[in-house]
């Protein structure tokens, strides 16, 4: 009789001590279970690897053209064929990865650099600061990003201000409008978190507003910001592709997937691969970032905690 009474006491001791639970560990555990997101994450690592080591991986420089080799279908020498001026298509796609990822990540960095401080200021200070910032955000939201980017890029072009083959222009133009979402999100997070008890406690022991913002509010707002940035990257890449497609983004010889599709338009009848391959690159990149972003959101959202 006594043995049966002992068993339930023993069992918990026999179980190994579970690791202390915190947001990031829980998130990691949840993310790991999401096969789609994990798969996408590996593709993302692969894309970043290609972008960084483009010089080593690609069989030829992106701007090396040999007219004799022009318009070749995929073959043993040029695995994905050549374009109309005889540049190795695979190499251009590989360097295109670098261009796309650079645009996507840099735009988000600019968005963070502008949106974060403004969002914090609006959320913390409130009053007329909040009012002015939010009206500015509303004005920028109501102008389509396309119109703004196209206009500002053509103004720069007519002033002769093109930097890095148009790369920097594209990044700045998209980034200048792209920060509004980050700003809005940061502000909303701060407004919710400000009402929490731990902020009240910090206030009570006399912490300065800036200290509260950087040490208590921001760390707690980090999860949704990470998701927003991850999901913002494919949007920026898509916008760049569209701008380059229209001829107002990246300039030749720098490869941009969007521009490569545009260049293929007159050859679509015969050289179908010139349009298809960059399209696939764009689609894969878009899906990768979306899946990882969705996975991160599910993993970081405490509301779904089981």
């Amino acid at each position: 009789m006594s043995t049966t009474a002992d068993t339930p006491v023993k069992t918990p001791a026999a179980v190994t001590e579970p690791e202390a639970s915190n947001l990031w560990r829980d998130a990691y555990r949840r993310f790991k279970k999401n096969k789609l997101a994990v798969g996408a994450f590996f593709v993302l690592v692969f894309l970043v690897f290609i972008a960084i080591f483009a010089d080593v991986i690609s069989p030829a420089p992106y701007d090396y053209s040999n007219l004799i080799d022009a318009n070749q279908f995929p073959n043993s020498q040029h695995l994905l064929g050549t374009d109309s001026v005889g540049r190795d298509f695979l190499s251009r796609l590989i360097y295109g990865t670098r261009v796309s990822l650079t645009v996507g990540i840099s735009v988000q960095l600019i968005a963070l650099a502008i949106g974060l401080p403004l969002g914090i200021a609006a959320g913390m200070l409130g009053g007329w600061v909040d009012y002015i910032i939010m009206r500015g955000v509303e004005v920028l939201t109501s102008i389509p990003i396309w119109l703004f980017a196209l206009f500002i890029i053509s103004v720069w072009r007519s002033n002769g201000q093109q930097v890095g083959g148009g790369l920097l222009n594209v990044i700045v133009a998209i980034g200048l409008v792209g920060w509004v979402d980050i700003c809005r999100l940061t502000r909303a997070q701060i407004l919710t978190l400000r009402e929490k008890e731990f902020v009240l406690a910090a206030n009570a022991i006399g912490a300065k507003p800036l200290h509260i913002a950087t040490h208590h509010l921001l760390p707690n707002a980090l999860a949704p910001l990470i998701v927003a940035v991850t999901l913002g990257i494919p949007t920026a890449i898509f916008t760049e592709a569209g701008l380059s497609f229209l001829g107002f983004g990246i300039n030749d010889p720098l490869p941009s997937w969007g521009k490569m599709v545009a260049d293929s338009s007159s050859y679509i009848r015969v050289y179908w691969h010139l349009g298809l391959f960059p399209t696939l690159c764009i689609a894969v990149t878009m899906l990768t970032f979306s899946f990882v972003g969705d996975g991160l959101r599910d993993a970081l959202d405490p509301n779904l905690k089981k």
């Binding site: 109501s142 102008i143 196209l150 206009f151 229209l246 969007g258 349009g275 399209t279 899906l287």
Partner: protein
């Protein structure tokens, strides 16, 4: 609710001032002679013309004053003359707005198909149909629309010659009498059958490609919401009452699915109305998107100012309507606001 609406409406003029200010500042960062650009080479020998133009736009005054003059003219419906078309911007926009509305409306009507598809996918959760529909929705939202446009043009125009590409009517077909500005509707109302056929054939291809950009999102949202609703307690109650599955979906699930879905559709409609630059440019559709592209890239300042203001107005109006729809569709919001 009404108070909120009034507050939003009162903000409208300030937003328009903000938007026009941004466009104005950008426009004046280019070292070009506005008189020369607007009047062309022909005006060089005509000092009267130049003086009149300068006076009208306050060009001999300081920049802030010039902006005030622009606002003054704007409040009188004078947006200036386009540098490209040499017509008044208001006239240009008057032609472009219905063209874009016709295209966007057709596209959004086509992509409404996404709602039943999404609901069906949710009902057949993790079955073959679900897989197919999800794949289609992913392709729609990840494949760049400009490539889809090329493929569509290649298939239906170059190869099969079913649909024409470019403009809203065949050359030689006269536009129908202006009633709504939608060529298809106008020709239907006036019984102008040749214009109806021609405008339909011009409309279908760009609208179809455009709808691919929105249908993916609509499917995804409809599917997620339906999945969520299907697991609610009140549906279990309905099932245990022995109701048929069709009745459960139509009577009990649908109203709750509709609110978020209508929001997504309206927002997609808003983005179609303001952001069809790529499709309109590829298909040479004479709407707002192409107008914005041309005026932005050819630095047509009156054009760009006018088109930004119009697009912002459309965007703001659509958002207001979405807010109103919320209240109409969801009684909970209505009572909360009152």
């Amino acid at each position: 609710m009404t108070q909120y609406l009034i507050r939003r409406l009162l903000l409208l003029p300030f937003m328009l001032v903000g938007i026009s200010l941004i466009a104005f500042i950008l426009s004046h960062s280019v070292p070009a002679d506005p008189v020369n650009a607007a009047l062309g080479e022909g005006a060089i020998g005509k000092p009267d013309l130049v003086r009149a133009y300068k006076e009208h736009w306050g060009l001999d005054k300081s920049l802030p004053e010039q902006y005030l003059v622009y606002l003054w003219n704007l409040s009188h419906g004078d947006l200036g003359n386009s540098i490209i078309s040499r017509r008044s911007v208001a006239e240009d926009l008057g032609d472009a707005i219905p063209a874009t509305f016709e295209l966007a409306t057709t596209a959004i009507l086509i992509s409404l198909l996404g709602v039943p598809l999404g609901i069906w996918a949710a009902i057949r959760h993790r079955k073959v149909a679900d897989g197919f529909i999800r794949f289609f929705s992913l392709v729609g939202s990840s494949v760049p629309v400009f490539w889809l446009a090329y493929i569509a043009i290649f298939l239906f125009y170059t190869n099969l010659s079913i649909f024409p590409v470019g403009d809203r009517l065949d050359t030689g077909v006269r536009p129908p009498t202006h009633i709504t500005g939608f060529y298809t509707l106008d020709s239907l109302f006036t019984g102008n059958w040749s214009a109806l056929g021609s405008s339909l054939r011009h409309l279908i291809l760009p609208a179809l490609v455009l709808s691919l950009t929105t249908i993916g999102t609509i499917i995804r949202v409809s599917r997620t919401i339906t999945l969520d609703v299907l697991h609610q307690d009140y549906l279990r109650t309905a099932r245990s009452k022995g109701l048929k599955e069709l009745v459960i979906i139509a009577r009990h699930a649908l109203p709750n699915i509709l609110v978020p879905v209508v929001t997504v559709i309206s927002l997609s409609y808003g983005s179609l109305l303001s952001g069809t630059v790529l499709i309109e440019t590829i298909f040479s559709w004479p709407g707002l998107g192409r107008y914005a592209f041309q005026s932005a890239t050819k630095l047509d300042f009156p054009g760009i100012m006018g088109v930004s203001i119009v697009i912002a107005l459309i965007y703001i109006t659509i958002n207001l309507i979405v807010d109103l729809l919320y209240a109409v569709l969801d009684p909970r919001i209505r009572t909360k606001a009152a």
